[in-house]
Structures are given as C-alpha cells and as structure tokens.
C-alpha cells in the first residue's frame, strides 16, 4: 500500500513538474522557432509550428549588421560589475541592520528601504537625468552601473537582512569572544552559512540589471555603449517589429541569465549541513 502511495505521489510530482515546465517554456519555444525562420515564414496563416529548416540568417544579421557582440560585452560588464557592487553593499547593510542592537534604528532604516520600493521607477527617470546631466554624467557606463546598484540595493538589503536574522547570533558569539572583528565574523562564519540566500540575491540582481531597458536608453547615447535590451528594442522601428532578428537577439540575451541561474541554483538548492548550534 505504501509503495503504491509513493508511486502515486511521484507520479503526481512528475505531472506537476511537467506542467510548470511547459507553462514556462511556451514563449521560449516560440521565440526559438521564430529565430530560425526566414522572413517569408514569419507571418503565415495557419502559423508554422516549426521552421522549414534551420535558417541562421537572423543570427548572422545579429552579429554582423546589428553589432550585437559589442552590446553583449557592454551588458556583461555593467551587469556583472553592478551586481557584484550591489551584492557587497547589500550584504554589508543587511548584516549591519540585522545585528545592530537598536531595533528601533534598524527598523526605521528598513522602513526607509521599503519606501523606495513603493516608488514607480519610471517617475525617477526624468529628475535623475536632469540631475546627472548637470554633472555631465550622461552616456557613461560606470554611472549607469551606479544607478543600477541604487535600483537593487534596497531589495538586496531587505532580503539579506531577513536571511541573516534567521542565523542565530550564538553562531557568532564564540568567534566574537575570541576577538574576531565584525567583518571577519561576517566573512568567515555568516556568509558560508547563508550562501543560498547570497546566490539567490545575486542572481536576481544580475537578471534585473541585465534586462533593464528604459534607463539604459535614457542614459546612453553612443552606439558603442549600448546594452543588450536597448539593442533588442532597436529592432522595433516605425516599420514594426523585426521579429526574426529580435527573436534571435532574445535567445542570445537569455544565455547569460540562464548561465547565472544555473550556476546560482547549485548553491540555492544545495542544502546545508544545518545544526551547527542547537537552538
């Protein structure tokens, strides 16, 4: 009986997992198929579920005519740089807020962080642009990176504080008594234990920054500084959407984010050896 129950349970599990996967993959399937279609196959009726053959001209166009390689590099630089920067800042402030003795102060600051999340991002763009244009900080990938850090650190701090809160202080007490500095404790003891959280937060940073479109368009002018989302968006013109090449671009744009996810989830779902200290 128990075996049957188990089998049934696994069966349901497989169905559920399959369902999630199909739901998730629908647009990816369509985008991939479209990227391999020639221009005459795009707008047929009834629609073609598969391309007639693997047509690579969209990808060729992407990397030759549309210069996608440069944008890819720019995006990688900005996304990785800003994500690491934001990670360091968030972990520091998350830990600081978590361990600071005055709960009133930490909650106050935390509320300040939540407040920033209530702000519709689009609203910030114009004042930010005008402010930075006064200092000639437009068209600068580094400045854009800083803006990206600003966008994500509130979330990062809130999340990391939450995770650090779950780690008992007792874990650190031993080290503190031994004379370890605050940063050392963070680095040596707390971080290894909260690796899943750190990885999750990092992957969120990367993905959000990698995909950010509107700020990139607003703050970058030179063609050689453009990022991937801006480049993808440039396939939308007055003459409509160039679905062929844009699909190819979307597929290529997905690769780093999937890579980051695949790398991060190894840590996220690794499971830990818990119970170093019994509550």
């Amino acid at each position: 009986m128990k075996i049957l129950k188990r089998f049934f349970g696994s069966f349901l599990k497989v169905i559920a997992l399959g369902g999630y996967l199909i739901f998730a993959l629908i647009p990816l399937y369509w985008v991939m198929v479209t990227s391999f279609k020639g221009p005459k196959e795009l707008y047929t009726f009834p629609i073609a579920f598969l391309p007639k053959s693997l047509n690579f001209e969209n990808y060729e166009f992407l990397f030759t005519f549309a210069n996608f390689g440069i944008y890819f590099r720019n995006s990688l630089l900005v996304s990785l740089g800003a994500s690491f920067g934001a990670l360091i800042v968030s972990v520091l402030s998350g830990y600081g807020l978590s361990r600071i003795s005055s709960k009133k102060l930490s909650n106050g600051i935390l509320i300040g962080m939540y407040l920033t999340q209530m702000i519709p991002g689009f609203l910030l763009m114009l004042p930010l642009y005008l402010m930075l244009s006064k200092f000639s900080m437009i068209n600068n990938l580094f400045v854009l990176g800083i803006i990206y850090i600003d966008i994500v650190i509130a979330f990062g701090t809130i999340m990391s504080k939450g995770f650090f809160d779950r780690i008992p202080v007792s874990l650190e007490e031993a080290a503190l008594i031994d004379g370890c500095g605050t940063l050392e404790v963070l680095y040596r003891i707390v971080l290894p234990v909260s690796l899943p959280a750190i990885m999750a937060i990092f992957s969120f940073f990367f993905v959000n920054i990698w995909n950010e479109l509107f700020l990139a368009v607003m703050f970058l002018s030179s063609n050689d500084k453009m990022t991937v989302p801006a480049a993808l968006n440039s396939f939308i013109s007055k003459a409509g959407i160039s679905w062929g090449v844009m699909s190819a671009g979307l597929v290529v744009a997905l690769l780093p984010t999937i890579a980051v996810f695949a790398f991060a989830q190894k840590y996220i779902i690794a499971g830990l050896t818990e119970g170093a200290v019994k509550e």
Binding site: L28, P46, F122
Partner: protein, 293 residues
Amino acid sequence: MKRNLKLFIMVLPTIAILILFTYIPIVQEIQIAFENYNLYNLSNIYFNGFDNFIAIFTNIDFNFVQIVLNTVLWVVISLIFQFTLGFGLALLLKKPFKGRGIYSGLVFYPWAVSGFAIGLVWAWIFNGQFGLINGILMRLGIINQGIGFLSDPHIALMSVIIVNIWYGIPFFAIMLLAALQSVPEELYEAAKMDGAGRVKRLFNVTVPYIRPTIASTILLRTMWILNFPDIIYAMTDGGPANSTNTLANYMIIKMYSFYNYGQAAAIGFIIMSVLLIFATIYLSALSRLEKGI
C-alpha cells in the same frame, strides 16, 4: 558600542546611494505632481495645487474607477497565483532528483527575460488571429475561430494577468526555496515523531519558520506588481477601451502620449500613497500575528 558603530557604518553606503539616487529625485518628482509640468511647453511650469489630481480623478477618457478596479484585480490575482504556484514549485524542488539542476534552470527562466520584450512575445502568442495559442487550439479542433485574448475587453485583463503570473512564479519559487533550505531538519524529525503528516508538517513547521521570508517577499512583490507597467504596456497599452489600464500603465500613457509629467507624477503620488497605506496595514497586521505566537 564599538561594534554597533561598525555595524552602522556598514549600512551607510546603502543609505548614501539611496538618498542620492532615489530620495532626492523623488522629492523633486513629488513637487512636479503639484505643478503644471508639460513637456510641450517647458517655459510654462507653475504650481497648480491639486489640479493634476482632480484632472486624474475626473478624466472622462480614462475612467479612474475602472483603472483602480483593474489595478486591484491585477495585483491581487497575480499575487495569489504567483505565490501559491511559486511555493508549490519550491516544495517540489526541495528534494533532490535527477536533472533537478537543468530543470530549475529552465523553469526559472521567465524571470530572466525583460518584461517589456516578453510582453511583446506573449502579445503575439495571444494574438487573436496569428497567435500560437489560437493556432494550437485550432489544430486540436477545440475552436475554429480565434479567441480574442487581448481584444475582448472581458478577457483581456485575465490574459495579461496570466502572463504576469508566468513572469512572477520564479521569484517566489527561488526565494522560498532558499528559505526552505534553511529549515533545520531536526524540526521535521521532531514533528514526524509527533505523528504529524505531510500537510501538518508543512503548516506547523515549514510555514512558521520561513514566515519572515514569506512576509517580506509578498510585501515586496505587491509593490513591484503595482509599479510594473511593462507587460501591460507591451501587450495592450491599457486597451481595449481601458479594460486593461492600471495605475502604472496610466502613468506611462500620461508621460509618453500626453507628455504631461505633472499628471504622471500625480498618479505616481497616488500609487505611492496607496502602497504606503497598504504597507502600514500589512506590517501592523503582521506584527500582531507575530505577537500572537
């Protein structure tokens, strides 16, 4: 004391960046909400009190009540399904199985795409004539006329909500999965020994332990969904006939079509106020819940 100071200094970079790049601009923006600020004539900026707000509330072309209703439905339905489905996925992924790595990489990717771009893709998929969904349904013989997923005002809102759900599941799945990893195994052992079944273990052990994560992700996600116009902007731009227009999308329309930043800022102010009230109620309810334990 010295440690406390060190801890405070660790928070300072975040505070400084946020003040510089978020708080200062937002104060300027709030000021704009009370001004006649139109990009068509920048020499004519003046303080106009509550005029922008009144204009928003009484606009005959974009019914404010309908927009608010749409927004509530958009947020609530998206949130409920994103959370439950995300939590379900996290639970399914908790125990290792063969190919879990690749699987999660694939199933999490919706979060990895740009909201605007994927909105365009979904708009095509949902197209009432040439869309993938209609194509599949017609091939299977279920229907023989395309369904206007985005052109029928009665179902357009549900269609964009479905896309939003698709988009948000990975967020909850990843965050909750990471939280689930931190639940000590001993608690489960203890519960099992007490005779608690799967469901009981879920509600009595897991949920309370990760409640802070659940609480903060839900609060954050609510704010993000409310503030996130990309999908609607890309798929329907608020149409047809205002049926998918939400506060955030309305703000975009005011900005990019009407060039009326004053009114756009006013809508933003309304959004922020709503979220502030919501967060206050939410957090006080939460703390009352905590105290009850």
